[in-house]
């Protein structure tokens, strides 16, 4: 791989990676030395917005301007497409004009070699027809280098083959068909004519050169061409429309540059055009059926009348064209989500529905939702409430062989629509209303957001009071601020920050929910409001990076806030601490004698590919034996709290009579070996006395380590429900570190 190709590849890799890549990862992937990659990244940084955070490099997507390099042929194709689009616009969007301007600049400096290559692109549809390939090659070269071209031309329905010397002025797509035309001046007589490129049988370059007229001259010529067809003189065509709906449609498009609309006293309108040839007009007029009445010329009136007399009943009219159904509108709206159009390539393999932890209970599971979309009956999905079983765990997205963003596009958009219709389970409604009103889903007072710090010494600095720049803005989050169980983990992390002598501060009452789970529960507007409020608070203070213990907040700051223009380097606390492992290690003095298994949080692992830092921290604790559960890393099972699941426990229990957290806790028991006797073999119900349990217990302590504020309370509740889990302890990684540090 050459350097240019490698730089391109690195750019692509950095763009594709949500969480960034290390130099080593890139070097391994491209099979070159790290020094080379280091040099490449340094060079790329000159022109690309590359950010470094904890030795990981990524491209800030919102600042990225794509660097598409086009050859002449590709430029021409885009130019033609844009011209085609422009012609049907009543108001020209500035973006379209800018794009056209850039493309025309690219076309102004031709290079013969590039042009030759571009022909291959132009002729991709007919790769075996060398003759046609040659024709295109010659025409493009003649057009770019202003060389007279000799062609053999055969018009439609004619047997005569003409041989003509033409000066190729302009390529132009047809208005109402997909044909491509070449406009050129013919021979010494010098009249302008249009040629359907498909009807050019042969083309060769001559030695003569020509001067192209001003573009304005060519444009004025194009005004009278309906679909661009050669012909002699101009004919005025007058078409009358009566139906108000059709009139509305007619008035919204420029059908032909030369068109004029005459409004009549009775409310009807006449569309008047002057065309070179009425031939191409016929299919268009027929398309309107009885809604379009031909007034002149008489010959055309007669021709259309005949057609309608014979096939009148079958002609399609706009009256029969219904507005886009909800189902189709929803289908189209998915295109707006990143990669959303990939839903069209769904294989219906049902991997998504199979891996979905609640797929078995959903009337419309992801695969069936897509099938309903395709069948145009998505309304049925909207009437079903099982989409609220979705915990946005990304397992479906992860497994999809067609890389369809099922969670981000399909599931979240469906929830958004349900929510806009006011159709929300009451538990979730309360959490969302609380988030609107108090900035946290728990419905706690925003003034008490920093109350957990009350008795901590030394004091936890609140930025509004401290008024000093800090290295780390610790975004505490909702549950870590208010939930009694999670506050224990919060306090543990505070101790670690203080022990490491980190310069940090929190926002306190100014902090609001990160909003990510609300967003995934379908409340996008609320997410934006919360993000804006947090963004304003961030902007008030000086800090180098954000650290959070909440993977949902981490995901929001990393992937979602930048879309709203709020961009700060962010790390999950496990990444932040793993980066400081050398400093931390000597402090981990006390042994923690336990078999520990780590639960990968969906929004840390599967979504953002952070798997190793939490494990590195656990392994650094002396005495710990780290084991993996059956489902780990990208296959991790969801705790059930994501995507609004945290606020749908009752709803989901009612539907499934199962808790995802219990499933996970059973795996943890099995992996950590805590009290395995219960499972193998199970004790008969009668004999299960307390004494018996103690006698047969292996006494081994298993710890389920977590790194997300949703998890400790969820898993501890699950532990209480499962008898064989009685020896399993749930601990946040921060709590385990503090235990080992003895602080």
């Amino acid at each position: 791989m050459g350097r240019a190709a490698r730089l391109q590849r690195i750019e692509e890799m950095l763009l594709a990676s949500g969480n960034g890549l290390t130099i080593q990862e890139i070097a391994t992937s491209l099979d070159v030395h790290r020094t080379t990659i280091w040099r490449d990244i340094t060079d790329l940084s000159m022109e690309l917005p590359i950010q470094e955070s904890g030795n990981r490099y990524r491209i800030a997507r919102d600042e990225y301007i794509s660097n598409i390099k086009l050859n002449q042929g590709e430029s021409l194709m885009l130019y033609l497409a844009l011209r085609r689009l422009m012609r049907s616009q009543v108001h020209l969007p500035p973006l379209m004009a800018q794009a056209l301007e850039k493309l025309s600049l690219a076309l102004r400096h031709p290079s013969a070699k590039q042009l030759a290559e571009s022909i291959l692109v132009l002729q991709a549809g007919q790769p075996t027809d060398r003759e046609r390939q040659k024709i295109w090659e010659v025409l493009v070269q003649g057009w770019v280098e202003r060389i007279v071209v000799r062609i053999q031309y055969q018009e439609v329905q004619r047997t005569v083959i003409e041989e003509l010397d033409i000066q190729p002025y302009q390529f132009e797509p047809a208005v109402l068909s997909n044909n491509l035309y070449l406009i050129g001046k013919v021979g010494p007589s010098g009249f302008l004519r249009t040629f359907n490129i498909d009807h050019i049988l042969k083309a060769t370059l001559t030695t003569a050169r020509f001067t192209r007229p001003e573009q304005a001259v060519i444009e004025s010529m194009l005004r009278h061409l309906w679909g661009i067809q050669s012909g002699q003189g101009l004919t005025q065509v007058r078409l009358r429309f009566q139906d108000p709906d059709v009139i509305d449609r007619i008035q919204r498009t420029v059908w032909l540059p030369s068109q004029r609309m005459d409004e009549n006293a009775d409310g009807s309108i006449d569309l008047v055009v002057e065309v070179a040839d009425v031939f191409e007009l016929v299919p268009w007029i027929r398309g309107w059926g009885p809604d379009c009445e031909v007034l002149e010329p008489i010959e055309l009136q007669a021709q259309i009348h005949d057609v309608q007399a014979n096939h009148g009943g079958l002609t399609m009219t706009t009256k029969e064209q219904k507005a886009l159904s909800f189902s189709d509108e929803f289908y189209t709206s998915l295109d707006e989500v990143f990669d959303g159009e990939r839903i069209k390539v769904c294989l219906q393999c049902s991997s998504c529905s199979g891996i979905c932890p609640f797929g078995y209970i959903m009337e419309y599971h992801p695969r069936k939702m897509i099938a309903a979309l395709r069948a145009g009956v998505f309304d049925a999905v909207m009437e079903d409430e099982t989409v609220w079983m979705c915990v946005s765990c990304y397992a479906c997205t992860q497994v999809c062989p067609a890389n369809i963003p099922i969670t981000a596009a399909l599931m979240t958009r469906t929830k958004e629509e349900l929510l806009l219709a006011g159709n929300v389970p009451s538990e979730l409604q309360e959490a969302l209303e609380n988030s609107q009103r108090y900035g946290n889903p728990l419905g706690e007072s925003p003034r008490k957001r920093a109350d957990w710090t009350n008795e901590i010494k030394p004091e936890i600095p609140i930025l509004a009071k401290a008024k000093e720049p800090v290295d780390v803005l610790w975004f505490v989050g909702d549950y870590p601020s208010y939930h009694p169980r999670t506050i224990t983990s919060t306090k543990a992390f505070a101790k670690i920050l203080q022990a490491l002598d980190i310069s940090f501060g929190i926002l306190g009452p100014e902090e609001q929910s990160d909003g990510d789970s609300q967003r995934l529960a379908g409340e996008k507007g609320l997410f934006e409001v919360l993000a804006e409020n947090n963004g304003k608070a961030f902007a008030k203070y000086e800090f180098k990076q954000i650290v959070t213990t909440d993977p949902h907040a981490y995901n929001a700051f990393l992937n979602e806030y930048p879309k709203l223009g709020i961009t700060y380097p962010v790390q999950h606390y496990t990444q932040f601490l793993a980066d400081r492992l050398e400093q931390l290690k000597p402090m981990l003095k006390k042994k923690v004698e336990a078999t520990i298994t780590f639960h990968d949080p969906c929004y840390l692992g599967r979504v953002n590919e952070v798997y190793d830092p939490p494990r590195a921290l656990l392994e650094a604790i002396p005495g710990v034996e780290l084991v993996e559960m059956t489902h780990s890393r990208e296959n991790s099972l969801c705790c059930g709290g994501g995507g609004g699941g945290m606020w749908l426990d009752g709803f989901q229990w009612e539907k499934a009579h199962a808790r995802l957290s219990e499933w996970r806790v059973r795996e943890a028991v099995s992996a950590s070996g805590a009290d395995q006797y219960v499972m193998h073999p199970p004790i008969p119900e009668k004999k299960k006395g307390k004494k018996d349990t103690e006698a047969r217990s292996n006494g081994k302590v298993g710890i389920l380590a977590v790194a997300c504020p949703y998890e400790a309370p969820r898993f501890e509740d699950a532990v209480k429900m499962i008898e064989e889990a009685s020896k399993l302890v749930v601990r946040d990684i921060a709590e385990l570190l503090v235990e080992s540090m003895g602080i």
Partner: protein, 254 residues
């Protein structure tokens, strides 16, 4: 069918109340106001009636801090006209006085039906519904949990204590005190509220002179005091649990 819904805001219980220096009123420095829950049900009930049989809804709110947001949320629910009663509502206003001011606005609205929350927890001198009915010379029924309208009359479902319910027919126009809407208020996506705040306007109407008559004087406002026989537990969960166990032991249950 023209429905008018007079609403008001009440202190939000999310924060503990503090009594101000006068000892006769709440300290409003950090006090948040929230739409009276019963009034929210009154708005939802009005929207449900409109959805079934058409009509238009006007909502009237006194000018409290946050009233605009409450009105725009009502618009997002399907309310057509937003009216803000301007004046000084900072100090506690008697229900007599508020009802008098609101009735003046309602008279201009040519209403067929007036729905309001059956009560509010800061009502000093009684709920607003009966006062409104008196000022407007209309019949009043309170504790209503279902309303259906047909041609000049409406049938309401009213609950009595002791598990008895009644259905009664009332000639319109009438004032109803809503206990609960037929269906709980729906969730209003924040984007809809934002949209409503752009597309709807709030009309302002000045409140008249406050009416002082018929109102008792407030001597003292205070946090309930511990009775002589009560024992209060304090401390964290573990300490409180220990104290409870201690008491249970003392009285011989454990």
């Amino acid at each position: 069918m023209k429905i008018v819904v007079p609403i008001k805001l009440v202190p939000d219980l999310v924060d503990e109340f503090e009594i101000d220096a006068s000892g006769k009123a709440l300290d409003t420095t950090f006090m948040r106001l929230i739409l009276n829950e019963f009034d929210e049900h009154a708005i939802e009930q009005a929207v449900l009636i409109k959805e079934k049989g058409g009509g238009s809804i006007s909502v009237i709110a006194p000018e409290y801090d946050g009233a605009d947001d409450v009105l725009f949320t009502a618009a997002a629910r399907g309310v057509d006209k937003l009216i803000k009663l301007t004046g000084d509502f900072e100090s506690t206003v008697s229900t007599h006085s508020l009802a008098a001011s609101m009735s003046e606005v309602i008279k201009n609205e040519d209403a067929d039906l007036i729905l309001t929350g059956v009560q509010a927890y800061d009502s000093f001198d009684g709920p607003i519904g009966p006062f409104l009915a008196e000022y407007l010379e209309m019949p009043y029924v309170g504790y209503v949990s279902k309303v259906s309208v047909s041609d000049g009359t409406c049938t309401v479902h009213k609950e009595y204590p002791g598990g008895v319910a009644a259905e009664m027919e009332i000639q319109l126009p009438a004032v109803l005190g809503i206990q609960a809407a037929e269906e709980p208020p729906r969730y209003i996506a924040i984007s809809k509220v934002r949209q409503a705040s752009k597309s709807s306007t709030i009309e302002e109407s000045a409140a008249g002179e406050a009416i002082m008559g018929g109102v008792a004087t407030l001597d003292r406002m205070y946090v309930p005091e511990i009775g002589e026989k009560a024992v209060m537990f304090s401390g964290d969960e573990d300490q409180v649990a220990d104290q409870i166990i201690e008491v249970l032991r003392e009285i011989g249950i454990l």
